[in-house]
């Protein structure tokens, strides 16, 4: 059953349609990532669910109850902001207790709840600290706890780890995932990092210009991107413009059999799906540069007309700059007019 239903929601800022007739249903306990470049409308959408922006049109319901025009304080949502937005004039305990006090809970109960949630985010005993005495990761944990302590029906996270360093970000997203699964809390997570989305989400919604490009399980989004935009946005992807004629896609000496009608097409090949074989003759491409990552290598290739491709190889030492190679894609997809025309 869907807990959150977003139906045909639009948000117009002046001449810009930040969110454009967007619909999404989120199931109970599901973690959905809204993924897209900045300006794709993902944060605006989240803020409309939280009540910080009013939709220009459309409906938002939680548990079947319409909340489209309710102010934030009347919604059963809890938001974690990018900059943590902790109240710096209160200590950790007061930050967490503020919402509970507004609900007029007895002091003893407030104390129990706050301590339980601090325990949950791994900050037991930090109640008397001031927020500036905490590290960036701890501050973000307190922000998460501040939302969780009110037991919201829907947890909203707006790029919560954006200001943290890579290492901390990875650790925190695992913690968030653990907590989310333990509490089975329905969660909407906004990010522009594909790693984060792939690691966290039950479902990824890729957004572009206020619209959904694709909404699927992470593995499906990765393996079967429905548009060239999704293909290019998630993971590394070689996108090659070329011509299909008589069942063969061709671009400057590089050709692949492709079962599609004649015409222009965009070929999408993952670097790990592009096999290289050293060529005795001129070959389809030349090696431009080889980067050795230890576990694998990345080979930059150049087609005769200068177009660039990347290929992942197991033994980078087999290749050297300027070498001629033949290319053999093992899995391809092709797009025309922004739609999938072939996959094999």
């Amino acid at each position: 059953m869907s807990v959150l239903e977003i139906t045909d929601v639009s948000k117009i800022f002046g001449a810009v349609r930040a969110v454009d007739s967007f619909s999404l249903n989120v199931a109970d306990g599901e973690l959905v990532c809204l993924l897209g470049p900045s300006g794709s409308g993902k944060s605006t959408l989240l803020r409309m669910v939280g009540g910080f922006e009013r939709p220009s049109s459309g409906r938002i319901t939680i548990d079947g109850e319409e909340i489209t025009h309710l102010p934030p304080e009347k919604r059963p949502t809890g938001m974690v902001f990018q900059s943590h937005a902790l109240w710096t004039h209160m200590n950790v305990f007061k930050n967490l207790a503020f919402g509970l006090k507004l609900r007029r809970l007895p002091a003893g109960e407030i104390k129990d709840k706050v301590e339980a949630v601090l325990e949950l985010v791994g900050l037991a005993g930090y109640g008397t600290r001031m927020t500036h005495q905490l590290s960036g990761g701890q501050q973000q944990r307190v922000a998460l706890a501040r939302s969780l302590v009110l037991e919201p029906k829907i947890l909203l996270l707006d790029e919560p780890f954006a200001s943290l360093d890579q290492h901390l970000r990875e650790r925190l997203r695992e913690e968030v995932r653990d907590i989310q699964q333990r509490l089975r809390i329905t969660t909407l997570f906004v990010t522009h990092g594909q790693d984060e989305a792939l690691a966290l989400a039950d479902r990824i919604v890729v957004m572009r210009d206020g619209k959904t490009e694709q909404a699927d399980r992470p593995d499906v989004v990765y393996r079967e991107p429905r548009t060239p935009f999704v293909a290019g946005f998630i993971g590394t992807m070689n996108l090659v413009e070329g011509i299909v004629s008589n069942g063969v896609f061709t671009r400057s000496g590089f050709s692949v059999p492709l079962a599609a009608a004649d015409g222009p097409a965009t070929l999408a090949v993952r670097p790990e799906a592009l096999e290289l074989t050293p060529s005795a003759s001129a070959g389809q491409a030349k090696v431009h540069r080889v980067t050795d990552f230890g576990t694998h290598g990345l080979v930059d290739l150049e087609l005769p007309d200068g177009a660039r491709l990347k290929a992942m190889v197991g033994h980078p030492q087999m290749f050297s700059n300027g070498q001629s190679v033949d290319l053999k894609p093992t899995a391809i997809a092709a797009y025309r007019d922004n739609a999938l025309i072939h996959r094999s």
Partner: protein
């Protein structure tokens, strides 16, 4: 490079500035302080012949001093209270809300300060003359209010703007109504700066001379107005000195307090620097 080298040596430029400024700025006030505690100081002695508190007793025994102090204090309290009441909501509206005519309003506040204040005071006084407000307590209150608008709008606007909007949104999110958010989050966050603004407007009113002299004198005599008449007409030098020392106390409190604001740069920004 040059700078690190200079830092290891003695900072002669700094020493020069410090010495010159000390002489120019602190020395005159020390002289006044000395006069306040001098019972006899005749030319050409470098220091007073006799120190003592005689003139403190005499000054504090004067009814006009107490009367002026009472007038000044009640005036300052009233003006500060009124301008906080009027200006703080306005400052919040400027900093946060978008409403039609906002820019025009902002502009009109500015224009008020783009004119020489004394000219404005004379123009207002001309109107007060018709309203029979000249020489009344409330006339002085109103004219002082003009002077405090500057502090009480600009500094709080900067303070409110520096409060992270998301802190307020987070408070809405956990269930606080807008008024509660203002009271529990925005005001405490902007608190120290606003307190400084209130203090500045209090002190500013306390020392305001022009408006009080123009509108109030001689019926309403504030401390600075009394001071002018002491300077002009009083033969006993020490009265003025003692009064100066007393007068300077609120200023000293302001000095200690306002350092935070000025350090934060909100003050200079308020002046468009």
């Amino acid at each position: 490079m040059a700078r690190t080298l200079a830092a290891t040596r003695i900072d002669w430029v700094g020493v020069a500035f410090a010495v010159v400024l000390t002489i120019v700025i602190v020395f005159p006030l020390l002289v006044v302080g000395t006069w306040a505690f001098a019972e006899v100081w005749r030319f050409p002695a470098l220091i007073p012949q006799q120190f003592g508190l005689r003139f403190w007793n005499q000054t504090l025994a004067r009814a006009d001093v107490w009367e002026a102090l009472r007038t000044s204090l009640s005036l300052s309290v009233m003006v500060t209270f009124l301008s906080a009441l009027i200006c703080l909501p306005a400052a919040y509206a400027f900093a946060r809300l978008k409403f039609p005519g906002r820019d025009i309003l902002f502009f009109s506040f500015l224009v008020g300060h783009a004119f020489p204040k004394f000219g404005l005071l004379v123009a207002i006084a001309a109107i007060f003359l018709q309203l029979n407000l000249i020489g009344t307590f409330w006339g002085v209150v109103l004219i002082q209010l003009v002077g405090t608008l500057l502090f009480m709008i600009w500094i709080p606007v900067a303070a409110f703007q520096s409060v992270d909007r998301r802190m307020e949104e987070a408070a809405r999110d956990v269930g606080a109504k807008p008024l509660r958010v203002f009271w529990s989050i925005t005001l405490p966050q902007a608190g120290p700066t606003i307190a400084a603004a209130v203090l500045l407007s209090f002190v500013g009113t306390f020392y305001e001379t022009e408006g009080a002299w123009l509108i109030g004198a001689p019926a309403v005599r504030t401390m600075p107005v009394l001071m002018i008449s002491f300077i002009n007409n009083q033969m006993v030098i020490q009265y003025g000195a003692v009064l100066s020392v007393i007068l300077w106390v609120p200023s000293f409190v302001a000095l200690l307090f306002a350092r935070r604001v000025i350090g934060g740069g909100a003050f200079a920004r308020g002046f468009g620097g």
